[in-house]
């Protein structure tokens, strides 16, 4: 198959776009697409300070690479979860994130959960007895909290994550199966900062196929952690991705159509935004926005865990971050 732009051998055929490209033209095309989505959904401008949540995987490192190539002010945040899985998963992920940042002279903030708060994510899941034996629930809670906290403390007004089209379509599929109205209302390329202390959350890759991001990392020479999070194996999300890919196989573009039609339906008023917006106030303990009365769920979770471990309950008041440069 030949590149549509130059006739050289193609490295990727994107059936949903009826487009095959060589390595050089693919590396030009993908950032152009991301820039188009950033503008279309009014995610941010070159005046914003962006914090990119990086996991050491293809999507987040690819996103960081693209944003820097596009001329945005983007620093990284790596959260060490303390997951081993028999192959040092978190250590490997950390090493890829560090290597990426160091080789490009980029700033990477690192928060190691165990060193900062006193337990690894798997340990936290066991002690707190949340998530029915899976740490994904406490992992999500901790990541959301720390991402927002670091953005706030470090002077970043935008938090970018590497969620791709397959991630978004899988979540949409799950929420539609459950008619989870509250989640459907909140699923969007941009979540505006609705409260002081909350960063604007953006997903610049929301229309980019996971396959395209893997191809981008390979062609661009980005080393990333290839292994799956050991706790994600057999997850509902992966099962839903498989179903969606069966549909994609028969009808190229099915995943994209599913997601875009949802966004359009939302824009036309299918869901009521006001009905499910929780009222937020500052956590009595840490000051982060929360919908819970008194302490936020993060502080309550760690209170319980630190009590069980015989540690002082007081959590670190703030991260010692070097602020984003203006």
């Amino acid at each position: 198959m030949k590149c549509r732009k130059c006739g050289e051998n193609a490295v990727i055929n994107m059936r949903q776009h009826k487009l095959a490209l060589c390595g050089e033209h693919f590396l030009e095309w993908l950032p152009e697409q991301v820039q188009r989505f950033i503008e279309k959904y009014e995610m941010f401008t070159r005046d914003d300070k962006i914090l990119v949540a990086v996991s050491g995987g293809k999507d987040s490192l690819g996103l960081w690479d693209i944003l820097v190539r596009l001329g945005y002010h983007a620093d990284g945040l790596y959260i060490g979860l303390g997951i081993d899985g028999g192959f040092d998963y978190s250590d490997q992920s950390h090493a890829f994130a560090e290597q990426f940042a160091a080789s490009r002279g980029l700033k990477l903030h690192v928060v190691e959960i165990e060193q900062t708060y006193g337990a690894t994510i798997p340990e936290l899941a066991v002690i707190s007895n949340r998530g029915h034996g899976k740490p994904c629930s406490v992992c999500g809670l901790n990541k959301r909290y720390i991402m927002n906290r670091v953005a706030h403390d470090g002077g970043y007004n935008v938090l970018a994550t590497g969620h791709n089209l397959d991630d978004e379509a899988a979540v949409l599929f799950q929420n539609t199966l459950n008619w989870a109205g509250g989640y459907l209302v909140r699923q969007a390329p941009v979540l505006l900062a609705s409260h002081p202390g909350l960063a604007r959350k953006v997903k610049p890759l929301c229309r980019v196929y996971e396959r395209e991001m893997a191809a981008y990392a390979i062609v661009r020479g980005i080393d990333y952690v290839y292994d799956e999070c050991p706790h994600a194996i057999g997850s509902t999300t992966i099962g839903h991705k498989e179903i969606l890919n069966q549909m994609e196989e028969k009808r190229p573009g099915a995943k994209l159509q599913f997601y875009l039609s949802f966004l359009q339906a939302k824009e036309e008023g299918l869901f009521s935004v006001k009905a499910s917006e929780p009222e937020l106030h500052a956590c009595d303990r840490c000051g982060q926005p929360t919908s819970a009365p008194g302490d936020c769920s993060f502080c309550r979770l760690w209170d319980k865990v630190r009590t069980v471990k015989g540690m002082p309950q007081r959590l670190p008041a703030e991260f010692n971050l070097i602020p984003a440069e203006s």
Binding site: M1, N9, A10, V11, I12, N13, A20, G23, A53, V54, S55, G57, K58, D59, S60, C136, C139, G140, K143, T161, G162, H163, D166, D167, E210, R211, M213, A214, A215, I218, V219, Y226, E228, C229, H231, A232, I233, S235, T237, I238, K241, E242, N245, Q246, E248, E249
Partner: protein
């Protein structure tokens, strides 16, 4: 000489002549979920597999939040 497909460290041997896409299906994978790499370079899934080729299949699906 058979063609080798390598996926997550496991080798699958097959006869030459089929496309990458068909070969991927034959070993029970969805073509949408992998990329094919030959000699360190990506190849498209219409590439016909020839004798002695060793193709690495890279999984593209991840399950956790990034």
């Amino acid at each position: 000489m058979p063609v080798k497909l390598v996926y997550r460290g496991k080798e699958h041997e097959m006869n030459p002549g089929s496309t990458v896409r068909d070969a991927v299906r034959k070993i029970g994978l969805q073509p949408e979920t992998v990329l094919a790499v030959l000699d360190g370079k990506l190849i498209t899934d219409d590439t016909v597999l020839r004798e002695g080729m060793q193709v690495k299949l890279v999984a593209v699906i991840s399950g956790g939040a990034p």
